[in-house]
Protein backbone atom coordinates (compact mmCIF):
# COMPACT_ATOMS: atom_id res chain seq x y z
CA UNK A 1 0.00 0.00 0.00
CA UNK A 2 2.83 2.37 0.93
CA UNK A 3 4.63 1.43 -2.28
CA UNK A 4 1.50 2.28 -4.28
CA UNK A 5 1.39 5.75 -2.75
CA UNK A 6 5.07 6.32 -3.53
CA UNK A 7 4.50 5.38 -7.17
CA UNK A 8 1.45 7.61 -7.34
CA UNK A 9 3.51 10.51 -5.99
CA UNK A 10 6.31 9.93 -8.48
CA UNK A 11 3.97 9.65 -11.44
CA UNK A 12 2.09 12.73 -10.31
CA UNK A 13 5.30 14.73 -10.19
CA UNK A 14 6.34 13.50 -13.61
CA UNK A 15 3.04 13.98 -15.38
CA UNK A 16 2.60 17.71 -14.69
CA UNK A 17 4.80 19.51 -17.22
CA UNK A 18 5.41 18.95 -20.91
CA UNK A 19 9.13 19.57 -20.93
CA UNK A 20 10.43 16.04 -20.59
CA UNK A 21 13.34 14.75 -22.58
CA UNK A 22 14.74 11.24 -22.60
CA UNK A 23 17.54 9.53 -24.46
CA UNK A 24 19.42 6.28 -24.48
CA UNK A 25 21.68 4.47 -24.35
CA UNK A 26 23.76 6.74 -22.15
CA UNK A 27 26.97 5.04 -23.19
CA UNK A 28 27.98 3.27 -26.38
CA UNK A 29 31.21 2.27 -28.08
CA UNK A 30 32.11 0.67 -31.36
CA UNK A 31 34.99 -0.45 -33.55
CA UNK A 32 35.36 0.16 -37.25
CA UNK A 33 37.93 -0.74 -39.90
CA UNK A 34 37.26 2.39 -41.91
CA UNK A 35 37.38 6.15 -41.36
CA UNK A 36 33.73 6.43 -40.32
CA UNK A 37 31.55 4.93 -37.63
CA UNK A 38 27.81 5.25 -37.03
CA UNK A 39 25.74 5.02 -33.86
CA UNK A 40 22.02 5.02 -33.29
CA UNK A 41 20.51 6.78 -30.28
CA UNK A 42 16.86 6.91 -29.28
CA UNK A 43 15.25 10.18 -28.18
CA UNK A 44 11.94 10.08 -26.29
CA UNK A 45 9.18 12.55 -25.59
CA UNK A 46 7.45 10.53 -22.88
CA UNK A 47 4.92 13.03 -21.53
CA UNK A 48 2.87 16.04 -22.41
CA UNK A 49 2.39 17.36 -25.89
CA UNK A 50 4.39 17.36 -29.10
CA UNK A 51 7.70 19.15 -28.75
CA UNK A 52 10.65 20.08 -30.91
CA UNK A 53 13.94 18.62 -29.80
CA UNK A 54 17.49 19.30 -30.85
CA UNK A 55 20.53 17.09 -30.64
CA UNK A 56 24.10 18.28 -30.73
CA UNK A 57 27.60 16.83 -30.26
CA UNK A 58 29.93 18.11 -27.55
CA UNK A 59 33.37 17.28 -26.26
CA UNK A 60 33.65 15.42 -22.96
CA UNK A 61 33.45 17.91 -20.12
CA UNK A 62 32.68 20.89 -22.34
CA UNK A 63 30.39 22.46 -24.86
CA UNK A 64 32.78 22.70 -27.83
CA UNK A 65 31.84 20.78 -30.93
CA UNK A 66 34.00 17.71 -31.53
CA UNK A 67 35.67 17.24 -34.90
CA UNK A 68 33.91 15.22 -37.59
CA UNK A 69 30.62 14.40 -35.85
CA UNK A 70 27.27 14.88 -37.55
CA UNK A 71 23.78 13.97 -36.30
CA UNK A 72 20.80 13.29 -38.53
CA UNK A 73 18.34 14.72 -37.84
CA UNK A 74 19.70 17.37 -35.54
CA UNK A 75 16.27 18.95 -34.97
CA UNK A 76 12.88 17.24 -35.10
CA UNK A 77 9.37 17.20 -33.71
CA UNK A 78 8.21 14.31 -31.53
CA UNK A 79 4.60 13.66 -30.64
CA UNK A 80 3.71 12.98 -27.02
CA UNK A 81 4.72 9.49 -25.98
CA UNK A 82 6.72 8.85 -29.15
CA UNK A 83 10.36 8.12 -29.75
CA UNK A 84 12.69 8.16 -32.72
CA UNK A 85 16.18 7.12 -33.57
CA UNK A 86 18.86 9.57 -34.59
CA UNK A 87 21.98 8.62 -36.50
CA UNK A 88 25.33 9.84 -35.24
CA UNK A 89 28.21 9.59 -37.71
CA UNK A 90 31.86 10.07 -36.81
CA UNK A 91 34.11 10.72 -39.78
CA UNK A 92 37.81 11.18 -40.37
CA UNK A 93 39.03 8.48 -37.98
CA UNK A 94 42.72 7.71 -38.44
CA UNK A 95 44.01 4.13 -38.08
CA UNK A 96 44.31 3.32 -34.37
CA UNK A 97 42.46 6.48 -33.33
CA UNK A 98 39.80 6.49 -30.61
CA UNK A 99 37.43 9.43 -30.50
CA UNK A 100 35.19 9.89 -27.46
CA UNK A 101 32.55 12.59 -27.29
CA UNK A 102 29.02 13.33 -26.11
CA UNK A 103 25.76 13.63 -27.96
CA UNK A 104 23.11 15.60 -26.07
CA UNK A 105 19.38 16.00 -26.56
CA UNK A 106 17.25 18.79 -25.19
CA UNK A 107 14.07 20.66 -25.91
CA UNK A 108 14.68 23.10 -28.74
CA UNK A 109 13.38 26.04 -26.75
CA UNK A 110 13.68 25.72 -23.01
CA UNK A 111 11.63 27.72 -20.59
CA UNK A 112 11.73 27.91 -16.83
CA UNK A 113 14.39 27.54 -14.23
CA UNK A 114 15.76 24.17 -15.31
CA UNK A 115 17.06 23.32 -18.73
CA UNK A 116 16.93 19.53 -18.91
CA UNK A 117 19.48 17.80 -21.08
CA UNK A 118 20.40 14.14 -21.52
CA UNK A 119 23.81 13.22 -22.92
CA UNK A 120 25.19 9.95 -24.23
CA UNK A 121 28.89 9.21 -24.14
CA UNK A 122 30.02 7.69 -27.44
CA UNK A 123 33.38 6.21 -28.30
CA UNK A 124 34.49 5.16 -31.79
CA UNK A 125 37.75 3.33 -32.44
CA UNK A 126 39.32 2.57 -35.78
CA UNK A 127 41.52 -0.48 -35.80
CA UNK A 128 45.18 0.00 -36.59
CA UNK A 129 46.52 -0.51 -40.09
CA UNK A 130 48.51 -3.74 -40.56
Amino acid sequence: MTCRWIWAAVLGAVAVPALAVGMGPLEKSGITDGPAKGFYLTVLNPYGKAETFRTFPAVIGGEAEPYGVTIRPARFVLAAGRQRRVLVVVEGLDPGETRTFRVCAEKDREEGMIHARVCSKLSARRISAR
Partner: protein, 150 residues
Amino acid sequence: MRHAVKAGFGLGILALAGAPANAATVTIGGTIVNLCTLTPTGGSMVVDSAGTTMTTESGVGALPASLAVIATGSAPTLTFSAPTLTGPVSGATTRIRYSGAGANQTYTSGGSTASASLVDVFTIHAQVQSATGFPSGSYAVTTIVTCGQS
Protein backbone atom coordinates in the same frame (compact mmCIF):
# COMPACT_ATOMS: atom_id res chain seq x y z
CA MET B 1 15.87 -67.13 -28.70
CA ARG B 2 12.26 -65.87 -28.93
CA HIS B 3 12.49 -64.87 -25.26
CA ALA B 4 15.73 -63.04 -25.95
CA VAL B 5 14.13 -61.11 -28.87
CA LYS B 6 11.11 -60.18 -26.72
CA ALA B 7 13.37 -59.01 -23.93
CA GLY B 8 15.34 -56.98 -26.45
CA PHE B 9 12.20 -55.21 -27.71
CA GLY B 10 11.12 -54.53 -24.14
CA LEU B 11 14.42 -52.89 -23.29
CA GLY B 12 14.26 -50.84 -26.46
CA ILE B 13 10.78 -49.53 -25.60
CA LEU B 14 11.83 -48.74 -22.06
CA ALA B 15 14.87 -46.97 -23.37
CA LEU B 16 12.73 -44.87 -25.71
CA ALA B 17 10.33 -43.98 -22.93
CA GLY B 18 13.07 -43.02 -20.51
CA ALA B 19 15.31 -41.03 -22.82
CA PRO B 20 14.77 -37.26 -22.98
CA ALA B 21 14.56 -37.40 -26.76
CA ASN B 22 12.48 -34.18 -26.99
CA ALA B 23 14.31 -32.15 -24.37
CA ALA B 24 14.64 -28.50 -25.26
CA THR B 25 16.23 -25.52 -23.65
CA VAL B 26 13.94 -22.58 -23.12
CA THR B 27 15.71 -19.26 -22.91
CA ILE B 28 14.02 -16.10 -21.79
CA GLY B 29 16.15 -13.13 -22.67
CA GLY B 30 15.99 -9.48 -21.85
CA THR B 31 17.87 -6.35 -22.83
CA ILE B 32 18.22 -3.28 -20.70
CA VAL B 33 19.17 -0.06 -22.37
CA ASN B 34 20.72 2.68 -20.27
CA LEU B 35 18.22 5.44 -20.59
CA CYS B 36 17.46 8.68 -18.75
CA THR B 37 14.41 10.90 -18.79
CA LEU B 38 14.33 14.31 -17.12
CA THR B 39 11.12 16.17 -16.44
CA PRO B 40 11.56 19.64 -14.90
CA THR B 41 8.91 21.84 -13.35
CA GLY B 42 9.67 25.54 -12.95
CA GLY B 43 9.71 27.34 -9.61
CA SER B 44 8.86 30.84 -8.47
CA MET B 45 10.94 33.38 -6.52
CA VAL B 46 9.64 36.02 -4.12
CA VAL B 47 11.45 39.06 -2.66
CA ASP B 48 11.78 39.11 1.11
CA SER B 49 10.57 41.96 3.31
CA ALA B 50 14.02 43.59 3.38
CA GLY B 51 14.00 43.75 -0.41
CA THR B 52 17.53 42.40 -0.82
CA THR B 53 16.93 38.69 -1.22
CA MET B 54 14.81 36.92 -3.79
CA THR B 55 14.19 33.27 -3.04
CA THR B 56 12.06 30.19 -3.60
CA GLU B 57 12.31 29.33 0.10
CA SER B 58 9.76 31.61 1.73
CA GLY B 59 7.11 34.20 1.00
CA VAL B 60 3.67 34.03 -0.53
CA GLY B 61 3.93 32.36 -3.94
CA ALA B 62 7.47 31.09 -3.45
CA LEU B 63 7.88 27.68 -4.98
CA PRO B 64 10.96 25.55 -5.60
CA ALA B 65 11.58 23.94 -8.97
CA SER B 66 11.53 20.17 -9.21
CA LEU B 67 13.15 17.68 -11.50
CA ALA B 68 11.87 14.14 -11.93
CA VAL B 69 14.40 11.54 -13.03
CA ILE B 70 13.44 8.17 -14.47
CA ALA B 71 16.26 5.97 -15.67
CA THR B 72 16.88 2.36 -16.60
CA GLY B 73 20.11 0.43 -16.38
CA SER B 74 22.76 2.05 -14.23
CA ALA B 75 21.91 4.90 -11.89
CA PRO B 76 22.69 8.16 -13.72
CA THR B 77 24.70 11.18 -12.72
CA LEU B 78 23.22 14.68 -12.83
CA THR B 79 25.44 17.64 -13.54
CA PHE B 80 24.16 21.07 -12.51
CA SER B 81 25.74 24.04 -14.25
CA ALA B 82 26.48 27.26 -12.36
CA PRO B 83 23.17 29.16 -12.10
CA THR B 84 22.74 32.26 -14.22
CA LEU B 85 20.47 35.21 -13.57
CA THR B 86 18.66 37.26 -16.16
CA GLY B 87 16.94 40.45 -15.12
CA PRO B 88 17.41 44.20 -14.60
CA VAL B 89 19.97 44.00 -11.80
CA SER B 90 23.74 43.84 -11.75
CA GLY B 91 26.14 42.64 -9.12
CA ALA B 92 23.73 40.15 -7.58
CA THR B 93 24.82 36.82 -6.15
CA THR B 94 22.92 33.85 -7.54
CA ARG B 95 22.93 30.47 -5.85
CA ILE B 96 20.97 27.24 -5.96
CA ARG B 97 20.63 24.30 -3.63
CA TYR B 98 19.00 20.94 -4.26
CA SER B 99 18.12 17.66 -2.64
CA GLY B 100 17.16 14.27 -4.01
CA ALA B 101 16.89 10.72 -2.70
CA GLY B 102 20.64 10.33 -2.42
CA ALA B 103 21.93 13.85 -2.91
CA ASN B 104 21.98 17.00 -0.85
CA GLN B 105 23.73 20.10 -2.12
CA THR B 106 23.87 23.24 0.01
CA TYR B 107 23.66 26.69 -1.62
CA THR B 108 26.32 27.13 -4.26
CA SER B 109 26.99 29.59 -7.04
CA GLY B 110 29.14 27.08 -8.91
CA GLY B 111 28.50 23.88 -10.83
CA SER B 112 28.01 20.58 -9.05
CA THR B 113 27.40 16.90 -9.63
CA ALA B 114 24.96 14.53 -7.93
CA SER B 115 24.17 10.84 -8.10
CA ALA B 116 20.54 10.07 -8.81
CA SER B 117 18.51 6.96 -8.16
CA LEU B 118 16.76 5.22 -11.05
CA VAL B 119 13.54 6.92 -9.96
CA ASP B 120 14.19 10.19 -8.20
CA VAL B 121 12.75 13.63 -7.65
CA PHE B 122 15.03 16.59 -7.01
CA THR B 123 13.82 19.76 -5.32
CA ILE B 124 15.78 22.82 -6.41
CA HIS B 125 15.80 26.15 -4.58
CA ALA B 126 17.22 29.41 -5.90
CA GLN B 127 18.38 32.48 -4.02
CA VAL B 128 19.46 35.85 -5.41
CA GLN B 129 20.99 38.47 -3.15
CA SER B 130 21.45 42.09 -4.13
CA ALA B 131 22.61 44.69 -1.62
CA THR B 132 21.00 47.46 -3.68
CA GLY B 133 17.66 45.70 -4.02
CA PHE B 134 15.81 44.67 -7.17
CA PRO B 135 14.45 47.08 -9.79
CA SER B 136 11.03 46.10 -11.10
CA GLY B 137 11.07 43.65 -14.01
CA SER B 138 11.25 39.96 -14.78
CA TYR B 139 13.95 37.80 -13.25
CA ALA B 140 14.91 34.24 -14.01
CA VAL B 141 17.49 31.91 -12.52
CA THR B 142 18.52 29.15 -14.88
CA THR B 143 20.61 26.05 -14.46
CA ILE B 144 21.34 23.40 -17.06
CA VAL B 145 20.90 19.90 -15.66
CA THR B 146 22.56 17.16 -17.67
CA CYS B 147 21.80 13.47 -17.17
CA GLY B 148 24.53 11.06 -18.15
CA GLN B 149 26.86 8.31 -17.01
CA SER B 150 29.86 9.37 -14.99
